[in-house]
């Protein structure tokens, strides 16, 4: 009876009592949380998330993208912004306490072997998966990613003048994310807030300048990856479409189970068989932009 059953999905998510190793509180009510979660650290791939019990008093979990992992040391890092009860309670957790989490969850981003110059676009708390993706590309080798990061509250890091020349960048747009710089990954920042060294405009404005400045053969090597607010994703998808580039986006929706059981987190996507409701937790969070933003 069991012969031929596909069991590949089984035992892919771990439940861990993760000790808080550090918790940094930044401007704009943003927080960087590092926890000891060896299984999640070992198995996580960029684009995946953890489902977190923010506080013992709040039973429903909250999904947070995985930003960084150290498989050897067994830690996982998150960047989150306080927006309500769950994230507010999470921000109170201190080193030494344990947080129950489920991870890693979801379909990750796919690296494309014929697209060696990926464009990574992260907006606000959509930055974390882009950091993880940049790390994966650097480890895989042979990729020259460029990250465009946007924020309307102070960036969750101190921008540093970039050591990399990037085509198409306007005069003075030199600010970069230090961690990515250290990894040898070029990045630039965009904001409407007029922060020093940042492009004053949207991430898509800056991305467009870069794409236009690339020679034809280089542009053919671009794949676009994006995570951030829905309107930003829509604009990124449109831009990618305009340049004929493949584009993967990471989506958000309210979740209950995060294992595919409740169908609470669905989004409407296009499929060859017509419109379908797909679960962000296990069918995503990463989707093909054309399936999400294309018309039925």
């Amino acid at each position: 009876m069991t012969a031929g059953l596909d069991r590949a999905h089984r035992e892919t998510i771990f439940v861990e009592e993760a000790e808080v190793l550090s918790h940094h509180h930044l401007e704009g009510d943003q927080h960087i949380l590092r926890v000891q979660a060896p299984e999640t650290a070992h198995h996580a791939q960029p684009g995946q998330f953890a489902h977190i019990r923010c506080h013992p008093l709040l039973p429903m979990r909250r999904p947070l993208s995985i930003m960084r992992t150290d498989a050897r040391k067994g830690w996982v890092e998150f960047l989150y912004k306080v927006v309500g009860e769950g994230t507010r309670l999470l921000a109170r957790r201190v080193p030494g306490e344990r947080i129950n989490l489920m991870g890693p969850i979801g379909r990750p981003f796919t690296l494309l072997a014929d697209r060696r110059q990926p464009l990574l676009v992260g907006g606000g708390v959509g930055i974390p998966p882009m950091v993880f993706l940049a790390d994966a590309m650097r480890r895989a080798g042979g990729y020259a990613p460029f990250a465009v990061l946007g924020s309307e509250v102070p960036f969750p890091f101190r921008a540093r003048p970039s050591a990399f020349q990037v085509p198409g960048m306007p005069e003075g747009v030199i600010g970069a994310m230090p961690l990515l710089e250290d990894w040898g990954v070029a990045s630039r920042l965009a904001s409407l807030q007029g922060y020093a060294g940042c492009f004053e405009g949207y991430v898509t404005g800056l991305a467009r300048l870069w794409l236009e400045a690339l020679p034809e053969h280089a542009r053919a090597q671009v794949a676009v990856y994006a995570c951030g607010p829905h309107p930003m994703l829509e604009a990124v998808a449109l831009l990618a479409g305009e340049f004929g580039l493949p584009c993967q986006v990471s989506l958000e929706e309210f979740m209950a189970c995060a294992v595919g059981g409740c169908a609470g987190c669905t989004v409407r996507v296009r499929t060859p068989d017509g419109p379908a409701m797909k679960r962000v937790c296990v069918d995503g969070p990463v989707f093909d932009a054309a399936a999400v933003f294309g018309t039925d």
Binding site: E11, I13, V15, R53, A256, V259, G261, C265, R268
Partner: protein, 322 residues
């Protein structure tokens, strides 16, 4: 679990061998395999798994948001997203691990005929039993009317009974005046068992936008918030079932071994776990261990001995509140 502990938890439910008294509830575990993604979760910890509510035709379900947390629980309005009965039988059932636990279909429909048709399709399948969701509160053209009216409930039960000999479980709604009377009528119409209770209807409002948080405006309330309501309903339905030997799957807000034991004492033969899994995906193993511990402390040999062992207070009356 040790072998003799496993024996204490085993039971017979309408002729079906259950590994334990726990039942994973419809709508919380997809079409049966989803929770096996979680390391440490196993179907051997549960007696049965109820599949997502299934209609004759595929349904896309409701727009977002479909779920949100509320005090001690959550609201949901999924809108019965499902691929249709034919697809479930042809594509999903053949891949389910029947060697691990029992699988129960959850039937839904907009008309009596639709319920019967879905039941007919599942009758010709390896499914172990059928649960009739006469109380689905989320779909405008469905649920509500059937579950809230004893006549309609009985007609749906009767129609399904006619087309199948598999165990037929009727899932009762708390959103009605006299749940015991409804149970009595469904029993006469051929129900083999009851599931008590489905969700209570509720609403949450975003005060900034002044719009309901749930896309469907209203949703079903589940989780610990509804447990006291559920316990009373199980107690009431048990008064109808006891003499007929008709078992109940008690459910609503089970999140600990103590919760499960309360339902057993109130009259449940099996105990459903839904929202509690969202809190803790490994909850079932903990409940099983807690029940075994309870049995040992009370010198009981099997879980069946807890069922209906409620000791009512002498002075208790029927006039509630105040």
């Amino acid at each position: 679990m040790q072998a003799d502990d496993a024996d204490k938890l085993r039971l017979d439910f309408c002729g079906l061998p259950f590994n334990t008294p726990l039942v994973l509830l419809s709508g919380c575990v997809g079409f049966g395999e989803e929770y096996t993604r979680v390391t440490g979760f196993t179907h051997f910890d549960v007696g049965a798994v109820c599949l997502k509510g299934t209609t004759l035709e595929p349904r896309l379900g409701n727009p977002p948001h479909r779920v949100c947390e509320t005090p001690a629980g959550m609201l949901n309005a999924i809108g019965l997203q499902n691929p249709g009965a034919r697809y479930v039988v042809d594509e999903i059932l053949p891949r389910l691990p029947f060697a691990e636990t029992r699988f129960i279909a959850n039937l839904s429909g907009s008309t009596v005929e639709e319920y019967a048709e879905v039941a007919r399709i599942f009758d010709d399948s390896p499914i172990d039993a059928m649960e009739v969701n006469i109380s689905c509160p989320n779909v405008k053209e469905g649920g509500v009317a059937f579950g809230n009216d004893p006549d309609m409930s009985a007609r749906v039960t009767e129609a399904c009974r006619k087309v199948t000999d598999k165990p037929l479980i009727v899932k009762l709604s708390p959103n009605q005046t006299d749940i015991a009377e409804n149970a009595r009528r469904c029993l006469e119409a051929g129900a083999d068992a009851f599931a008590v209770i489905n969700t209570l209807m509720g609403m949450a409002i975003d005060i900034e936008s002044r719009a309901p948080v749930i896309g469907n405006n209203q949703g079903g309330l589940s989780g610990p918030a509804i447990k006291p309501v559920a316990l009373l309903k199980v107690h009431q339905v048990y008064q109808v079932c006891r003499d007929h030997g008709v078992p109940i799957i008690g459910q609503g807000g089970v999140a600990s071994p103590e919760d499960a034991i309360e339902f057993l004492i109130a009259g449940a033969t099996a105990v459903g776990v839904g929202t509690g899994l969202f809190y803790d995906p490994l909850l079932c193993a903990k409940i099983n261990a807690g029940i075994v511990d309870y049995l040992d402390r009370h010198g009981l040999a099997t879980v069946g001995q807890i069922t209906g062992s409620l000791v009512l207070n002498d002075e208790g009356g029927s006039c509630a509140g105040g």
